[in-house]
C-alpha cells in the first residue's frame, strides 16, 4: 500500500462474520424464547414430577388393586373394591368423624386463642421482655411432634407427671390423662392446641400488620367501640391472612398422626384413633397396601376440598364486594 493511502478493510463479501462452533449453537438454542422458560422451570418441574406426580399416580393406581404384602401374591386389579370396602367400613367412618371433631375443636381453639394472644402482643413494642415472651410463645411450634409428644406424655404421667403432682397437691386424686378413654381425646387435643396456637398468633400478627394505621386512628378519634374496630377494620383487612392460617391448620390437623403415634397410639381403645393413624396401621401393621392407598386418595380429596372451599369463599366474597 502506498504511504498516505486511505485504509481499506480486506474482507470478501462471502467471508463469515464470526465463527459458529457447536458450543455457540448450543448456547443460542438455550437462549431461544420458546426454550428458556422451560429450562428455567426444569429443576422445580423435575422435583415435582419425581416427588409429587409419580407417587400420586402410583397411589391412585394402587387403590384399584387388591395387594397385601403378607399374602405373597402379586397385586390383583379389583376396580372399586377397595373404595367400596372403605365406604362400608363403619370403623373408618367413626375414625373420620373423630378426626373432623378433632380438627374442629383444634382449629377453633387455636384460632381464638391465637387471635387473642396476637391482639395482646400487637402494639406492645415498648413492653419490656416482649421479644423473650414471643420467643417462648413460638417455641412449641418449632419442636418436633415426637419430642413434644414424649414431653407431654411425661407431664401427663399418672405416677410421676408434674401435672398429676399438682393435682394431688390440690387434694384431688390422680387422673390418667392418656389411659382414661374419657379424657384422652381432650388431653391429646390440648397438646395440639399447645403446639399450634403460636402458628395462629403468628398469622394474627401478620394480619394485624396489614391493617392501615390511619384507619385505626380515624376510628379512635370517631369513638368506634373496640368490637366495631375489630370487625370493621382489623378483620376486614386481615381476613385473607387469617383464613389462610385457618386453612393451613385445618389441613395439617386433618393429617395429625405423629403426635397420636407417640402419645397414645390411637388408644385407649380407639379413643384417640384419628384417620391418619388408621391409615398408618392398615398400611404398616396389616400391610394392606391397596386398601390403604384408596383411603389415602380419599383423604387427599378431602384436603383438596378444604382448599377449594377456601378459594371459592375468598373469591365469592371478593366478587360480592366488587359487585356491591
Amino acid at each position: 500500500m502506498e504511504p498516505g493511502a486511505p485504509a481499506t478493510i480486506n474482507q470478501s463479501r462471502d467471508a463469515p462474520v464470526a465463527s459458529t462452533g457447536p458450543w455457540e449453537g448450543f448456547t443460542r438454542f438455550l437462549g431461544r424464547r420458546d426454550v428458556l422458560p422451560f429450562l428455567l422451570l426444569a429443576p422445580v418441574l423435575i422435583f415435582f414430577i419425581v416427588w409429587n406426580l409419580i407417587p400420586t399416580l402410583w397411589l391412585l393406581g394402587l387403590g384399584f388393586y387388591r395387594f397385601s404384602l403378607t399374602s405373597g401374591r402379586p397385586p390383583r386389579f379389583a376396580g372399586l373394591y377397595n373404595y367400596r370396602s372403605i365406604l362400608n367400613d363403619s370403623g373408618v367412618w367413626i375414625d373420620l368423624s373423630r378426626t373432623f371433631l378433632f380438627v374442629f375443636f383444634a382449629v377453633v381453639t387455636e384460632t381464638l386463642l391465637g387471635m387473642a394472644l396476637g391482639l395482646l402482643f400487637w402494639n406492645s413494642h415498648r413492653l419490656p421482655g416482649r421479644r423473650i415472651a414471643l420467643t417462648m410463645l413460638f417455641s412449641p411450634m418449632v419442636l418436633t411432634p415426637v419430642a413434644a409428644g414424649t414431653f407431654w406424655r411425661l407431664i401427663y404421667d399418672p405416677t410421676f407427671g408434674v401435672l398429676n403432682s399438682a393435682i394431688r397437691g390440690l387434694g384431688f386424686s390422680s387422673v390418667d390423662f392418656l389411659g382414661d378413654g374419657r379424657v384422652a381425646f381432650a388431653a391429646v387435643l390440648g397438646v395440639d392446641v399447645w403446639m399450634w396456637t403460636p402458628f395462629m398468633v403468628l398469622m394474627t400478627l401478620a394480619a394485624l400488620a396489614s391493617v392501615p394505621k390511619a384507619e385505626l386512628e380515624a376510628a379512635e378519634i370517631d369513638r368506634l367501640a373496640w368490637h366495631q374496630r375489630l370487625r370493621l377494620i382489623v378483620l376486614h383487612h386481615g381476613k385473607f391472612i387469617l383464613m389462610l392460617g385457618i386453612l393451613l391448620r385445618t389441613i395439617d390437623a386433618f393429617k395429625t398422626m405423629d403426635l397420636i403415634y407417640d402419645m397414645t397410639y390411637g388408644g385407649p381403645g380407639s379413643a384417640t384413633q384419628l384417620v391418619a393413624m388408621t391409615l398408618y396401621r392398615r398400611a404398616f401393621e396389616a400391610f394392606n397396601m391397596g386398601w390403604s392407598s384408596a383411603l389415602a386418595v380419599i383423604l387427599l380429596l378431602i384436603s383438596i376440598a378444604f382448599t377449594a372451599t377456601f378459594i371459592f369463599v375468598l373469591h365469592w366474597r371478593e366478587r360480592r364486594e366488587a359487585e356491591s
Binding site: 392501615p212 384507619e215 368506634l224 377494620i233
Partner: protein, 353 residues
C-alpha cells in the same frame, strides 16, 4: 369558640426531639395555617392536638381547658388525615356518615347533613360508590367531608390537598375557606406548600426543625417577618438571601446592593439581607447578570440569574423577558427600601432598608 394554646410542648422519639418547647396560640374562629419544610414537626403537632399521641412535656389547652390527658375520642375535634383513612368495605355515604351515626344523630338529619357537605365538595354522585372506585382526588374530598361533618368547633386538616391537581386544589381551597366561614369554626391547616399557605391563611404559624419561628397574621409574616427562617420559608418564588455587613453608621453593604437602614440600630456585624423577588427589577441600566433558568408561568416569568457568584430569583411580566434565553444578559436593580436585615448568627430581625 375554640382557642388552642400549646404551652412548652415537646415531643421526642427515642431521644430525638420532633417538637422542642413549642408555645403558640391558634386564634378562635380563624383559619390558621401551620407551614414548614418536611420533617419540621407539623404532623406531630397535629397528632398531639387530636390526641393520637401524648406530649413528652408541656400542656395543651382548648378554651382554657387542659386537654393534655384527655383521650382522642373525647376531644370533639374534626380531623382530616393526610392519608384518606376511608373504610374500603362501606360506601362513601357510610364513610362520611358514621361519625354522626356514632353520636346517635337521627337518620334524616344524617342524610341532610351528608347531602349538604357532599354538595359543597361536589361528591353527590359518588355517595353510593366504594372508596376503591374513586380517584385520588375524589377520595380526598370524601375524607374532607367526613372530617368536616363532625359536631366540633375545632378542625384539624393535615395537608389535605397534597397530590391533587392544581384546578382541584384551587377549587377545594375556596370550598374550605367558605366552609370555615359558614361553620364559624377554628381551622388549623397544615401544609408544606408555601403558595398554599399564603393562599389559605388568615394567620400563619411557621415551624422549622421542631421550633415555632413565627406566628402572626399572614400579611405580617410575609412583609415583616421577625425571623430569617420565616422569610425563607414563606413566599413564592423564594426570597433572595444576600450576605452582608452592617456598619456602625447604619449602612448595610452586600456585594450587590448597599443601602442605609430606615431606623437606627445598635447591631454591628454580619447580616443576612432578604430581598423578595418583587424587590428586584429587570432594567437595562442595572448591574450585570446572566440568566440561568426561566420558568414561564403565563403572565409572569420567574427568572433565576447569576450575579456576583450568587443565584438570585425574580418574577417579571412575561412579555418584558420574552426575548431572553438561558445565558442572556440580565441587567437588574435591587430596591433598597423594604429590604429586610437579619442577624446572620441568630436569625433575628435587625432592621429594614
Amino acid at each position: 369558640m375554640s382557642r388552642v394554646r400549646l404551652q412548652g410542648v415537646s415531643q421526642s422519639y427515642r431521644g430525638v426531639k420532633a417538637l422542642d418547647d413549642v408555645t403558640v396560640e391558634v386564634a378562635s374562629q380563624r383559619l390558621t395555617v401551620l407551614c414548614g419544610p418536611p420533617a419540621a414537626g407539623k404532623s406531630v403537632l397535629l397528632r398531639l392536638l387530636v390526641g393520637l399521641e401524648q406530649p413528652s412535656e408541656g400542656r395543651i389547652l382548648i378554651d382554657d381547658r387542659d386537654i393534655t390527658d384527655v383521650p382522642a375520642a373525647q376531644r370533639r375535634i374534626g380531623y382530616v388525615p393526610q392519608s384518606f383513612a376511608l373504610f374500603p368495605h362501606v360506601s362513601v355515604f357510610d364513610n362520611i356518615a358514621y361519625p354522626l351515626a356514632l353520636q346517635h344523630v337521627s337518620r334524616a338529619e344524617i342524610a341532610l347533613r351528608v347531602g349538604q357537605v357532599a354538595e359543597i365538595l361536589g361528591i353527590n354522585p359518588l355517595l353510593s360508590k366504594r372508596p376503591s372506585q374513586l380517584s385520588g382526588g375524589e377520595k380526598q374530598r370524601a375524607a374532607i367531608a367526613r372530617g368536616m361533618l363532625k359536631n366540633a368547633d375545632l378542625f384539624l386538616l393535615d395537608d389535605p390537598l397534597v397530590g391533587l391537581d392544581f384546578k382541584l386544589r384551587e377549587s377545594l381551597m375556596e370550598d374550605l375557606k367558605d366552609m370555615r366561614a359558614e361553620l364559624g369554626a377554628t381551622f388549623l391547616y397544615v401544609t408544606s406548600d408555601s403558595l398554599e399557605a399564603l393562599t389559605m391563611a388568615e394567620d400563619l404559624i411557621v415551624l422549622d426543625a421542631g421550633h415555632v419561628v413565627e406566628a402572626n397574621p399572614v400579611a405580617e409574616v410575609y412583609h415583616s417577618p421577625r425571623h430569617l427562617r420565616a422569610a425563607e420559608l414563606v413566599g413564592f418564588p423564594r426570597c433572595n438571601v444576600l450576605a452582608g455587613v452592617l456598619d456602625a453608621g447604619g449602612l448595610c453593604r452586600t456585594g450587590i446592593v448597599d443601602f442605609p437602614l430606615s431606623a437606627p440600630t445598635n447591631f454591628v456585624g454580619e447580616v443576612a439581607v432578604v430581598a423578595r423577588p418583587e424587590q428586584i427589577a429587570y432594567r437595562a441600566d442595572g448591574a450585570p447578570a446572566t440568566v440561568r433558568l426561566m420558568e414561564n408561568l403565563g403572565a409572569e416569568c420567574v427568572v433565576y440569574f447569576e450575579a456576583g457568584g450568587q443565584t438570585l430569583v425574580t418574577s417579571v411580566p412575561s412579555p418584558s423577558v420574552a426575548h431572553l434565553d438561558i445565558d442572556s444578559p440580565f441587567p437588574f436593580v435591587v430596591r433598597g427600601e423594604g429590604l429586610l436585615v437579619f442577624d446572620r448568627a441568630s436569625g433575628a430581625l435587625v432592621g429594614r432598608g
